[in-house]
Amino acid sequence: MQETISIRVNGAHRRVAAGISVADLARELGLEPAKVAVERNLEIVPRSTLAQVAVEDGDDYEIVTFVGGG
């Protein structure tokens, strides 16, 4: 069986395969990495490094985008 790790994404718990990158995580969520911004454990993950940063057990992610607002 594939090993999984436990993370939080936008406040909700989620299990993902161990060893994936943040870019993989975004794609797994159906998101285009180029259209979102990612915060990992309160630190911005620069878009250029999304494919290099590994998702680790216990990570807390905020993934945001632009929406309509005043």
Binding site: V9, G11, G30, A37, T65, F66, V67, G68, G69, G70
Partner: protein, 256 residues
Amino acid sequence: MSDTWSVAGRTFTSRLIVGTGKYKSFEQNAAAVEASGAQIVTVAVRRVNISDPGQPMLTDFIDPKTVTYLPNTAGCFTAADAVRTLRLAREAGGWELVKLEVLGEAKTLYPDMRETLKATETLVAEGFKPMVYCVDDPIAARQLEEAGAVAIMPLGAPIGSGLGIQNRVTIRLIVEGAGVPVLVDAGVGTASDAAVAMELGCDGVLMNTAIAEAKDPIVMARAMKLAVESGRLAYLAGRMGQRRYADPSSPLAGLI
């Protein structure tokens, strides 16, 4: 006659900035932006919808390459939250020009100036160019400018109230004292309110609800475009003085 204004090194011909909230659809929103002639739109930063990631996005309808996105911190009540939001916005968009607003309470959405000033200082230190929503207080405006705000954006009336400019004296004092652009942000209800802001010498006006909640937002967007242009022209023309009594327009000489 070319009449432009600049903020943080970018030059614009339109003096109207519009929000992108409260519209019935993205299509209506895009059509209103088009009718308004705005070159800058404000946008919010929110969590992506993970349960339904295929939903249409604002960027599919309003192209960030042709219209400048101004990310805001609406909904933030502390300097820390606002700064965190804008760090994400900078990563999402890739630019430093942002709109800072730190609110004091939900009832009035009045800005918390202590937190606003603190956030301005942090943002400037991190290389942001913050346009800052604030109270219509010339002293607070000066303090923000000293802290590095690239534009001062006093409220005309509470956000979403549509009450129009409540204190023309303080807006004018801010305009006279500022060395950076001043834009009325919040409170505009109808075209004449926008014209008043421009006649007071503001560099621009930012609005959302006045257009989005009009019965016909697209027609109102055009009305606002014309009002901002007309108010600006009136300001540049220099209005006549006011008198307490009448002064006839027709000559008195030659009366029969």
